[in-house]
């Protein structure tokens, strides 16, 4: 029967077994931050190596490993999980839901991400990390010695499975769990971008799964997919990778677009300008995201018709993205703009991202890309869009939602230092790289020769990188020193959306009574035209909650063990891992677990305390 598990377990156990989307969000946050630090350190190692010509700080083999792990970790284990952190924490609140659609799967998704990431990074200690770039093009990847690439394949496979599950979870949550009155066209933009992002995940990740599967077949089971002597074709891998890879970069930017939409409209105190155009543009970007992958392959020899088509399709993405940029500008127009740290990042995003976006359009010109491709011009382009877009979005969200997530506000003054140093460091690092690329510096080079005119700009670039690292340390300090700012955390920014209508920190059931949504920017509407509180859509009643479970960790452990078996081609370990994995799945499927109810009395007591 419904077992009311109010009995208090240990804190650690509580986190290991939690299925609460807010706790999972927080775990994603720290998991992502952990990997961001590692990948950032790797970036610093690269920039030290590149600071002077012909440096021997890193051996070239090590450099290739550091480079590969930097890119892979940043994209799969830092940026995406950090977005997942906010999606998990905020989206159910924004749509007035008590929970996500699949709490168990949500937790499984998190553990898969974490263990996949750890598995990948374990390669450092077992004879060398992957070294073929984050794109792992065959046949370099299929012939690379050692086990580094096997770790790459299995690590990404495990964490990718988690990502796919989370994507489906968000989709169903958003379709099925919206509060009464929250029609699709009243959803906050962050929820919208989460939705479209999840669609991209759903359709992009399977292509990666197959790409990695084929690599695995070739490397471990002697397959001939990419073995030219056996009739293989290496371009197939590139297509599969980029059919995933290009949508992946929009997976990285769309949530940030959502965050900026929230932050900008909140701090301009204005409704988002052109809401429906914004939603529509998001969808178009998502759609076009699947039509342009081959712009990464202009030089691979597809032929002029293919190149021309993909070039034009790629350029088209500038249009919906431009619509968004101008809508943000017009949201600011006529507003009352407050320069909080969250908003500073959002505002800095606009020029930074436009600079990255326009170089993207230059890259999209196939004939010119023959010059740009695989040079530092590309490196500059994507750091501009990724840092100026995704990372600024993450930092903006961090400052914006921190009070909601952790119950205290980050220091604004320390935050400002962090912002300015990071912003200047960022432009210093990457602006010169455009020119480095144009005057002949290819990417993925472990060093460069003296006397080719590349010295000064590389030095400047490294200095900028150190500045970013220093700024980042200020953020970490901020997290620790601001803990006393616990006043004014429920709705510190005069928020517009539903997450600001609940308590801070949020009760495990989110809303004692499901709110009734009457307008876009539901909470703002009630503050302007109602009594400042959400109307309830239902009477106060017992609340049904899912039980925590340790099974996600066990399932994940099983898969990780099996992956080890695959990496070292040891059948006994594969079978052991699969037994654990399927055993735990079996237990899960035969155990009826219908959660428990929080009685009205307890809710009333907690609400009373909340006041």
């Amino acid at each position: 029967m419904s077992n009311s598990s109010t009995s208090k377990k240990s804190v650690l156990w509580d986190w290991l077994t939690t299925v609460d989307h807010k706790k999972i969000g927080i775990m994603y946050f720290f998991g992502g931050l952990f990997f961001f630090t590692i990948a950032g350190l790797e970036a610093m190692l690269m920039r030290i190596q590149l600071m002077f010509p012909e440096m021997s700080f890193l051996h070239e083999q090590t450099y290739n490993e550091v480079l590969t792990m930097h890119g892979t970790t940043m994209l799969f284990l830092a940026a995406m999980p950090l977005f997942f952190a906010f999606m998990n924490f905020v989206v159910p609140l924004q749509i007035g839901a008590r929970d996500v659609a699949f709490p168990f799967i949500n937790s499984l998704g998190f553990w898969l991400f974490l263990f996949g990431g750890l598995l990948l990074n374990l390669s450092w200690f077992t004879g060398g990390a992957p070294d073929a770039g984050w794109t792992a093009y065959a046949p370099l990847s299929t012939t690379s010695a050692g086990h580094g690439l096997d770790y790459y394949i299995m690590g990404l496979q495990v964490s990718g499975a988690g990502t796919l599950m989370s994507g489906i979870n968000f989709l169903v949550t958003i379709v099925n769990m919206r509060a009464p009155g929250m029609s699709m066209m009243r959803m906050p933009l962050f929820t919208w971008t989460t939705f479209v992002t999840s669609m991209l995940i759903l359709f992009a990740f399977p292509a990666l799964t197959v790409g990695l599967l084929l690599l695995m077949m070739d490397r471990i089971f002697g397959g001939a997919f990419f073995d030219v002597a056996m009739g293989g074709n290496v371009v197939i891998y590139q297509h599969l990778f980029w059919i995933f890879g290009h949508p992946e970069v929009y997976i990285l930017i769309l949530p940030a677009f959502g965050i900026f939409s929230e932050v900008i409209s909140t701090f301009a105190k204005k409704r988002l300008f052109g809401y429906s155009a914004m939603v529509f543009a998001t969808m178009i970007i998502g759609f076009l995201g699947f039509m342009v992958w081959a712009h990464h392959m202009f030089t691979v020899g597809m032929g002029p018709i293919a190149n021309a088509i993909f070039a034009v399709a790629t350029m088209a993405i500038a249009v919906p993205t431009g619509i968004k940029i101008f809508n943000w500008l017009l949201t600011l127009w006529g507003g009352r703009i407050r320069f909080t740290v969250a908003n500073l990042f959002a505002l800095a995003f606009i020029p930074s991202f436009v600079m990255g976006g326009v170089t993207g359009v230059q890259l999209a010109m196939s004939a010119a890309d023959y010059q740009f491709h695989d040079t530092y011009f590309v490196v500059a382009h994507f750091h501009y869009v990724i840092i100026g877009g995704s990372v600024f979005g993450i930092f903006s969200a961090t400052f914006y939602w921190w009070p909601k997530m952790f119950g205290y506000r980050l220091s604004e003054s320390l935050g400002r230092w962090f912002f300015w140093l990071f912003l200047i460091g960022f432009h210093l690092t990457f602006f010169v790289q455009h020119f480095l690329g144009l005057i002949g510096m290819p990417r993925r080079v472990a060093s460069y020769l003296d006397g080719q005119g590349l010295n000064e700009m590389n030095f400047i670039s490294s200095m900028g990188a150190f500045m970013m690292a220093f700024a980042f340390i200020l953020l970490v300090i901020n997290v620790f020193v601001s803990r006393k700012n616990t006043d004014d955390v429920q709705d510190p920014w005069d928020g517009r959306t539903l997450e600001w209508a609940t308590t801070s920190p949020v009760q495990e059931y989110n809303f004692a009574q499901t709110p009734l949504v009457r307008e876009l920017d539901a909470f703002w509407h009630e503050k302007q035209f109602g009594d400042g509180r959400m109307k309830a859509a239902e009477p106060l009643d017992d609340i049904h909650m899912p039980n925590g479970s340790i099974l996600p960790i066990i399932i994940t452990t099983g898969l990780t063990v099996a992956s080890f078996g695959v990496i070292y081609s040891t059948w006994s370990i594969i079978i052991l891992g699969l037994l654990i994995n399927f055993g735990a799945m079996f237990v899960r499927s035969i155990k009826e677990d219908h959660g428990y109810h929080i009685p009205v009395s307890e809710i009333k007591r907690e609400q009373g305390e909340g006041k």
Partner: protein, 114 residues
């Protein structure tokens, strides 16, 4: 709100209308099944018998496959049921991306230039 126990067996009967609907459905499904057996056999025969020229056979059996898939999706899997809008969106988007992938991997893998 009474707490419904989801693991208690459901013991009621379906309503008359549902019964009638199910009966119809069963009939449609048998008919679909027979039809599917028929087109499958046609496809096999098309290839097995050497009389039909290849340039006709290929598009023809591909078309038969398409018909059969749509029947599976809509008659067996009820994708056309009310409230399945998002399901249609997701499945057809998946088909679209799959089609792009297949096209790319058969056409622009460098062996012939386009």
């Amino acid at each position: 709100m009474s707490h419904v126990d989801p693991s208690a067996p459901l013991e009621g009967k379906p309503s008359k209308a549902t019964e009638r609907k199910l009966k119809n459905e069963a009939r449609t499904q048998i008919v679909s099944f027979v039809f599917m057996i028929f087109i499958t056999s046609t496809a096999f025969l098309t290839v097995a018998s050497d009389v039909i020229p290849t340039h006709f056979a290929i598009p023809f059996i591909l078309m038969l496959a398409g018909v059969q898939v749509v029947m599976q999706l809509y008659y067996f899997m009820h994708m056309n049921a009310k409230g399945n809008g998002w399901i249609n969106v997701m499945l057809w988007s998946g088909m679209f991306v799959a089609a792009l992938t297949v096209a790319a991997l058969t056409v622009i893998i460098g062996e012939t230039k386009f």
